[in-house]
């Protein structure tokens, strides 16, 4: 997969070319051209805001169809903790997990369990000397990509640990290969996701050369299949392994609570995340050791590929958390020894996608022109030109991707001038005609 593969894509037939998505995109990565939204690939961070905002459902996330599991002999589902919030509270966690075996999977491993290993590693990092505080969680891939394009000074603050999804995939494969004596290449591990950005992470990972996940299936694409089987599922197999700390990761603040620091900050919603990261970059956040930042409002429960309303799902997760807390008597579940490193094997670098030119002199000229054009535009930020704001249009013009007359007000001015000129000419007649 190329560097700019994105899960978030456009369904051309459904797109009306309206301005909802261009206005909402946190990285100004969308323009409307010829009546259709175009995503600027190098700017897109796969946050899924456009999927949520589009009234015509023209933005979608490319994920795998359930049939992808058929190409493997042994199929393991690794559902995100968000799954527990999608079903009525009378269904136990174990029943929900067993239902995956009713729709074609052979086994289930909870990402919530892997989250407890990641939390443990994070706690160790936090207690180490020399860690660049505040440490910023890398659990949300949209936030990692946001930092890569907009907050380069914070790249060193990112916790370079694999996500619970990757850890779950590795653990599930290893365990199954050892226990069942199956060739690892015959084992397929499939992430059940509420998140578009995770689909991108599997197809084009930034933390390693290749993801351990073999496919990404959206919760909404298999929800009805699960629902149809959940009542008739035999739940005798003990598949629920995670503790309350891992389950709570689905919720905003869950990871922060799990890493056990007195001073963590949890922020959710991509625009709120941007405000907080701005403040961190400007040294305005004091005495915070750990930042949990999630692109979706409400955390992963608010993911664009989840089914249930985020606030309803929150209440349900709370019930599962409380139930597990009661069983565990409030203490943490012990972790089995895990000797594989979960540290990233690849580095991420700043992507200066907003740079106007690689030659500073030229960039300066373009910036001056940009400012001059911007001053001359109406400042209504109407979006009719296909850019999210007047300034963005000015930027597009200096980049050679738009014209001043793309602005309907500018166009009208030109038409009026032309009309005045025509009228003036019309009044003149050749001397011979007297």
């Amino acid at each position: 997969m190329g560097e700019y593969f994105h899960s978030v894509t456009l369904d051309e037939a459904k797109c009306k070319g309206c301005t909802n998505c261009i206005k909402r995109c946190p990285t100004e990565a969308i323009r409307v051209r010829h009546g259709k939204a175009r995503i600027i690939n190098e700017r897109c961070i796969d946050c899924g805001e456009c999927i949520r905002i589009c009234p015509y459902h023209a933005k979608k996330a490319i994920t795998d169809d359930l049939s992808v599991i058929d190409s493997f002999k042994y199929k393991i589902a690794i559902p995100a903790p968000t799954i527990y919030g999608q079903f009525k509270p009378e269904y136990s966690r174990n029943r929900i997990l067993n239902t995956f075996c009713s729709i074609g999977f052979d086994d289930v491993y909870e990402v919530a369990r892997a989250a407890e290993y990641v939390s443990d590693a994070t706690r160790k990092l936090l207690s180490e000397d020399g860690a660049k505080k505040p440490l910023i969680s890398s659990a949300c891939p949209a936030v990692v990509r946001l930092i890569q394009v907009r907050f380069p000074n914070l790249i060193d603050n990112l916790i370079k640990l694999e996500s619970p999804m990757e850890v779950a995939a590795k653990m599930a494969k290893k365990k199954t290969a050892e226990k069942k004596k199956i060739d690892p290449s015959d084992i397929g591990v499939f992430f059940i996701t509420p998140c578009a950005a995770k689909a991108t992470s599997v197809k084009a990972p930034y933390e390693s050369k290749q993801s351990s996940v073999d496919g990404v299936i959206s919760i909404k694409s298999i929800y009805l299949k699960l629902l149809a089987k959940i009542d008739r599922t035999d739940e005798s197999r003990q598949l629920a392994q995670a503790g309350f700390e891992g389950i709570r990761w689905a919720n905003s603040g869950g990871e922060g609570l799990a890493v056990e620091t007195d001073s963590f900050l949890a922020v959710d919603g991509i625009h709120n995340v941007i405000s907080i990261l701005e403040a961190v970059e400007n040294d305005k956040i004091e005495s915070v050791d750990f930042i949990e930042a999630l692109a979706c409002t409400g955390g992963c429960l608010g993911g664009p590929l989840a089914v249930e309303n985020v606030y309803v799902a929150k209440t349900r997760i709370k019930k599962h958390v409380e139930a597990s807390k009661a069983v565990q008597k409030g203490s943490r579940l012990p972790l089995e020894p895990y000797d594989e490193s979960i540290v990233w094997t690849e580095e991420i670098a700043y992507k200066p996608v907003l740079k106007l030119d690689s030659d500073i002199e030229k960039a300066m000229k373009k910036l001056e022109t940009l400012e001059r054009i911007n001053k001359d535009l109406p400042g209504l930020d109407c979006g009719a030109c296909g850019a999210p704001s007047c300034r963005a249009l000015a930027e597009d013009i200096v980049r050679g991707n738009a014209y001043e007359t793309d602005c309907i007000f500018k166009l009208r001015e030109r038409v009026r001038d032309l009309a005045a000129q025509m009228k003036e000419l019309e009044e003149k007649s050749p001397p011979t005609m007297g």
Partner: protein, 138 residues
């Protein structure tokens, strides 16, 4: 290129807009992110000082290919004891301001920390001119 911003008086909700606009431009110019941070933070501190202490004023910014020069000009009461004001934690901000999370006595020390060159001209009752220079290559 030359930029001019008005800095409002006592309006903390909108304070910092000039420095964040300048930051955006430096990003578009492709300046090294570490240098951008130096310019943005030192300008932000000077801007906030002008809002809190200086009764507002203006920012005059000149960017060329190797450096940015930021001048923050206010017509406030001036800084009575500059040496004292340069010390970390020294503040003359009111309790109200401090309750809002500003006025921690870090403004001038932070400016000194992040600016490559810092010059402060201040006269009692005449106001203060803070000049910050950050070089892009060093």
């Amino acid at each position: 290129m030359n930029l001019h911003y008005e800095i409002p008086s006592d309006d903390l909700a909108h304070a910092g807009e000039a420095s964040s606009s300048v930051k955006k431009m430096l990003v578009q110019l492709g300046i090294d992110p570490v240098r951008i941070k130096k310019a943005a933070v030192s300008m932000y501190e000077a801007e906030i000082n002008a809002v809190i202490h200086g009764g507002g004023g203006s920012a005059e910014v000149t960017i060329d290919s190797d450096k940015i020069v930021i001048r923050i000009i206010d017509n406030g009461p001036g800084i009575a004891d500059l040496e004292l004001a340069m010390q970390e934690g020294y503040t003359t901000a009111s309790d109200d301001i401090r309750e809002m999370g500003f006025g921690a006595g870090m403004g001038l020390p932070n400016m000194k920390r992040y600016a490559d060159e810092l010059d402060i001209q201040t006269r009692p009752d005449k106001g203060t001119i803070v000049t910050i220079v950050v070089y892009f290559h060093q």
